[in-house]
């Protein structure tokens, strides 16, 4: 065993023993969200533990409940801060780590293109796609920058700003704003952030479209060309396309 463990095997072992500290719980879960290998181990450990302790796959164990409680508190308290102090660009890197997989998982729809059988086997058959994260912000005049959740509104004429993160091999992203037909594409950009530590993109998209439903798409791939191709919906392998439906219009309180 090496001294430096890039994974969280030791924390998983302590989880299994029921001896994790709150800080360790948070680290374990944060890593498990971002790492396919450890995420799968955690899922399997939980599954077996629930069956051992409650004979029911849908009842969490005491260890699990304690870890969830310890992990979620920081994000909950951060969300309680007044809007103005919560959402600023610098807060992305700070809050990002905590809100991480969470808001993002809820924020996006993951569209994984169907792959050929042999490429699935080549990946070891675990079937979990590489991870990517997209956060979208509404920048309207005279108002604080605000993060948008699915179907939330941003007024016409405002700008959309973005923060993205992705795990290797996803290295580039292209973003697009869609109405009934394609309106605008930005990028490709190289991705510097990771899921949970998203970095702002140096671009904004103006919402110069009539009020109504729109969709933001971000296509992540392992090269600039592939990212653009994925955004255009051309054949692409291993690309990840995230979608966020939005409304152009005045926000309803």
């Amino acid at each position: 065993m090496s001294w430096f463990d890039p994974h969280v095997d030791g924390l998983l072992a302590r989880w299994a023993e029921g001896t994790l500290s709150p800080r360790q719980s948070a680290r374990l879960l944060r890593h498990a969200h971002a790492c396919e290998r450890c995420g799968a181990s955690y899922e399997r450990l939980v599954r077996a533990s629930r069956l051992l302790e409650h004979a029911d796959p849908h009842v969490p164990t005491g260890t699990e409940l304690a870890a969830l409680a310890d992990t979620g508190l920081a994000a909950a308290l951060a969300a309680a801060e007044p809007e103005a102090s919560r959402i600023r660009w610098p807060s992305l890197s700070l809050a990002g780590g905590m809100l991480a997989a969470v808001s993002l998982a809820v924020l996006v729809v993951l569209v994984q293109p169907r792959e050929e059988l042999d490429s699935l086997q080549a990946r070891g058959g675990s079937g979990r796609p590489a991870r990517a994260a997209l956060r979208v912000f509404c920048a309207a005049k005279q108002r604080p920058l605000r993060e948008l959740e699915p179907s939330q509104a941003c007024p016409p004429g405002a700008q959309l700003a973005f923060a993205v993160g992705a795990d290797a091999p996803l290295s580039h992203v292209a973003v697009g704003l869609y109405t009934r037909r394609l309106q605008s594409i930005e990028g490709p950009f190289s991705v510097t952030g990771r899921p949970g530590a998203e970095q702002p993109l140096e671009t904004t998209l103006p919402l110069q479209v009539p009020a109504g439903e729109v969709e933001v798409l971000a296509a992540f791939a392992d090269s600039p060309r592939e990212a653009l191709a994925a955004l255009r919906g051309e054949t692409h392998q291993g690309a990840v396309v995230l979608r966020l439906p939005l409304r152009v219009g005045e926000e309803t309180p």
């Binding site: 095997d9 998983l12 077996a48 004979a55 969490p60 409940l65 992990t71 979620g72 969470v102």
Partner: protein, 213 residues
């Protein structure tokens, strides 16, 4: 109603006082997590089926529920009269559904059904052959583990897990001290993990495991 139910608590909660929010969080976190771990019935078109969140999605949904609940606007929206748990569980459910939609587990237009308990069992379960096989496998693993335990350890597992006794109560029944029960329980859990490793249920060598006797 919040814990420590009186006007000053509600006031502090609305103002976002950290100690109060922390207390509310600690009070309701287990109930929210248990609720989110159960099966949800959803209707998509004419078919009804039940789905549940995986362990990591459960973490995400639990965290997101409180993130939504504690945002300033949502704290103001709570009237202080209705039980706060009901308020939270409603949020938890829509969070779970959002998450299931986002991950493609349920269709975008799928609607969650009401929480009537009979509905939770009525719908046809949607389990592919792979899921069925996993379930059978883990059930067998647990049974084998329990059968392979020495008498004493099996008695402890019986009391703590199957009967759900507290460590104190289990200690009294086994005529042990609570400290002894705690140590034995830790060994029991470690042994279980070793069993999972030995049977290939876990394929990652969990750090520190190999050092145990």
């Amino acid at each position: 109603m919040l814990p420590g139910d009186d006007r000053s608590v509600l006031q502090a909660f609305r103002e976002g006082e950290r100690a109060t929010l922390t207390r509310v969080y600690r009070t309701y976190s287990p109930q929210v997590a248990r609720y989110l771990a159960r099966r949800f019935s959803v209707r998509s078109g004419s078919s009804v089926h039940s789905v549940s969140l995986g362990a990591l999605d459960l973490d995400a949904a639990h965290q997101e529920t409180f993130v939504r609940a504690f945002r300033p606007a949502m704290r103001q929206a709570y009237d202080g009269v209705r039980p706060y748990l009901g308020f939270l569980l409603t949020l938890a459910r829509s969070t779970a559904v959002d998450l299931l939609r986002a991950s493609g587990r349920i269709a975008r237009e799928a609607v969650p059904l009401d929480d009537a308990p009979e509905l939770a069992h009525a719908p046809t379960e949607e389990h592919g052959p792979e899921e069925q096989a996993l379930r059978a496998e883990v059930r067998t693993l647990v049974r084998q583990f329990l059968e392979g335990l020495p008498e004493e350890a099996r008695a402890l597992a019986q009391l703590r897990f199957m009967e759900g006794l507290s460590q104190e109560a289990a200690a009294a029944r086994l005529q042990l001290t609570r400290g002894e029960v705690r140590v034995r329980e830790r060994h029991l859990r470690t042994r279980f993990t070793e069993h999972l490793l030995a049977r290939g249920w876990l394929d990652v060598p969990l750090g520190g495991m190999e050092k145990l006797p």
